[in-house]
């Protein structure tokens, strides 16, 4: 199917897409004028505008068959209201309740029924993937389905027009989602990725040739995999061997802090350099510790090893000091630069209860590092930097820019409607129920107001008005 869903500026149509063109079109969109125009013309232009957004990938005839004039709605009930009145009060007098001094007995907010005109389209698999924020446009979601990256209830589903049933669980490959929602690679990163791929290819071909001499091959792969990083790490490890363990840990923390406090004006490559430096420093510490049998290139192993090292420090501190955790708001505040403020607002009552500290308390080992001078805040910073290094590593072989960051202008489109329950970690979502209207709000996400929704609904009624 040819993609006619372009974001042209001259037409100014709104699409199901996160592009900046679409954002611009959305903010400058004005409802078409109604003055001096016939009803037919008004309905036509309303239909045209709303169909450009709602299911432009669906043929008009197909959509007409899906359209239903009956719209689902719910009324939230209050249990105490129901208990207080069996309905006789509401129907007393002349049938609509007694006059309560001008105050209505029940709050009456209009239900925006016509905003729900395109609710049947929200059942489509491609639209649901877009709504769950797994793709940056409905077209991309459609492509994911066609390319076999989507499962419904554990089975591969290749039809974008599959209509989800309430309770259906759909899942997109996380790599695709990261690609769709992540920042694009720069030319430099693309080149690095190519080099990595070429190297891997060369390795495999070499291995095939030298199948007999396994030992040499192993050495080679090791060397190529780690390359400079390990060399430098070894060199620096030798240098730092004489140093005090306390000093190294302190240096590590300073490095972590510099990573975390990178402001908005810091350039991306610079931060990547910092991250690389941090990784190397971590390797250095690991190579110094006695149990450095763990390979330095496995991030998971690095992480667990370092947490063990840190545990020693924690155990020492525990008797005299309580664990202190930064609240999320505080962390956000610290991002803006006022770290002192955040420190002042520390919540001493909340104890650290995340997995990391659990691992700390459970593991039992002798103290190796004496770093009791370090403040809790510093400790937290290090922990955060470590977690981030593990979860979001630098990897040029990925299809998106690493470390992953959300694509630009994404936040203006980020919302998840109530009829979906999404687990972002595994990129899976459940279609709970069909979208409904309720007093004051409609669940179908549409950028158009009442002045477009109602004429568009009128257009699709079998008997037009």
């Amino acid at each position: 199917m040819r993609n006619r869903a372009t974001n042209t500026l001259s037409k100014g149509k709104i699409r199901q897409s996160w592009s900046k063109y679409n954002l611009y079109n959305m903010q400058r969109f004005r409802s078409p004028p109604t003055i001096n125009r016939t009803f037919f013309q008004q309905k036509w232009s309303a239909k045209a505008a709303s169909r450009a957004y709602h299911g432009e990938q669906v043929r008009e005839g197909q959509w007409k068959r899906m359209f239903n004039h009956r719209i689902r709605s719910v009324i939230p009930m209050n249990a105490s209201d129901l208990a207080a009145d069996d309905g006789s009060q509401a129907s007393s007098g002349r049938g609509s309740g007694l006059d309560m001094g001008g105050k209505p007995a029940y709050q009456k907010r209009p239900t925006p029924y016509t905003q729900m005109t395109f609710a049947p389209l929200e059942r489509r698999l491609d639209v649901a993937i877009f709504r769950a924020l797994f793709a940056s446009s409905a077209r991309q979601a459609r492509q994911f389905v066609i390319h076999g990256a989507v499962t419904v209830n554990g089975q591969k589903m290749k039809h974008p027009s599959y209509l989800l049933n309430p309770g259906d669980l759909f899942q997109v490959e996380p790599e695709r989602v990261m690609y769709a929602t992540g920042h694009t690679k720069t030319a430099y990163e693309r080149r690095q990725g190519r080099l990595v791929r070429r190297k891997a290819k060369a390795q495999t071909s070499e291995e095939e040739v030298e199948a007999e001499s396994k030992e040499t091959a192993e050495e080679e792969t090791k060397e190529t995999a780690e390359e400079e990083a390990k060399e430098t790490a070894e060199e620096e490890a030798k240098e730092t061997e004489k140093e005090d363990p306390k000093e190294t840990l302190k240096a590590l923390m300073a490095q972590a802090k510099s990573i975390m406090s990178a402001g908005k004006d810091t350039l991306a490559p610079q931060r990547k350099q910092e991250l690389r430096g941090f990784q190397q420093a971590v390797r250095r510490v690991l190579s110094r510790s006695e149990s450095s049998t763990v390979l330095a290139d496995s991030l998971e192993a690095q992480f667990s090893q370092l947490t063990l090292l840190l545990k020693a420090k924690r155990a020492e501190k525990k008797p005299d000091n309580k664990d202190v955790k930064l609240r999320p708001e505080d962390a956000f505040a610290s991002d803006k630069g006022d770290r002192e403020l955040a420190a002042a607002r520390k919540d001493t009552e909340t104890a650290v209860s995340d997995k990391l500290s659990e691992a700390f308390s459970q593991a039992t080992l002798g103290n190796e590092v004496d770093a009791s001078e370090l403040s809790d805040e510093e400790f937290e910073t290090l922990k955060r930097a470590l977690t981030q290094m593990r979860d979001n590593p630098l990897d040029n072989s990925k299809t998106y820019s690493t470390p992953w960051q959300p694509r630009q202008y994404m936040s203006a489109f980020a919302f998840i409607p109530r009829y979906l329950e999404v687990n972002q970690n595994i990129c899976a979502a459940v279609y709970l129920r069909h979208p409904v209207a309720r007093p004051g709000s409609a669940e179908v996400p549409t950028p158009f107001g009442e002045t477009i929704a109602t004429p568009a609904y009128g257009w699709y009624l079998r008997r037009r008005w």
Partner: protein, 388 residues
Amino acid sequence: MPPRMQSRSVSNTLLPYLTATSSSSLSSIPSLSSSSSQCLSRQFSATAAPQAQTKLRRQMFEWLNTEGAVFKHHVPGETNYLTRLKQRGPETSSDASRPFPNNSSFISEPILSEELRNEVYHRVVEQKMSLRAVSVHLGIDMKRIAAVVRLVELEKRQRAQGKPLALPYARAIHEMVPTTPLAQQGERQEYHEPINDLPAHPLTGSQIFYPVPESRSFTRVEAGRVFSGAPAMEHSEAAEISHPSDLAEKIIEDPNSIAWVGKGANARQILQPADVRIPHPHMVALERDRLAHPNERLAVSEKQSKRLKRQDAIEKERRERLQARREKKLTVVSPEDSRFDYRIKDTIYTPETTGADGRGSKAVGRRYGVPHRDRTRGEIKIPTRVEA
């Protein structure tokens, strides 16, 4: 209180690093001045060089660089929707959660935070609480609770298998979208969504003129009968119902007690009052007990727990009975050297399965006079459901 898994809280705070992105993209936008200088350098050309950008493009980039620049990156913990541009007066809370400036009736509703999600899983799977109880405690719809349990289960399985996860993506989404946090110890849990939604029944859409004497009380039970076209109740029958929520308990005990009206294909059950049709009818009963005995809180809560226990038992028994009946009809054959299980069911030819005229399209098997449509041209073969 069970130990809470708050793995998110630490990792959430990592994002400052990730979100602090470069401002270099500003420089990537081609500026007019550079293009015009190019024009000047080509002095040998007689015709004017075409404009590097159309007016519309220029306007768009102007907007993106000035007003629209705030949308490029998000601020963790805040929404960043287009409506923030339109705010002239004081900022209202509803405005910040509206993604579309023209549509005032669409609100970006909060999603469950990671801790709340884990708490739901903990209560349902580890503490073995019923979905109904968890739904009332946390203010989450029962369907959502079931979905959360399913999703967390799947996540645990994938973590155990070492499959790739989208952790930084999840973190970013939880910062852009409003979330419902898990209450701290001792605090009251904020309700996530309304849990007693009454679906509007199509029958109630019609306007009916139904005269009733002013001296008579006209309740929801009677209104339901009027909407479904059923005759008025006998006096003795009406006297038994002191409040519509009495019907709810009766129907939970015996769902077949709902009477029918109409004949043949038009037969339908009488529309029940809202007290019966809401997801948590027991909440109305509790409120009634509270109104009746305002000073006996302990007794009321005891009665409620007894009621819930009894209803759970009834529901469980009914589910088991249904399951047993389904299994009785089904023969599962699983050959040893096969990847597949074969579920064999007897075909039943009744008006319910084959339709009134015996030619229903949903019925199984080849039937005389009913052509198979699946090979005809233009027949859509997209599945309509996928078994979980």
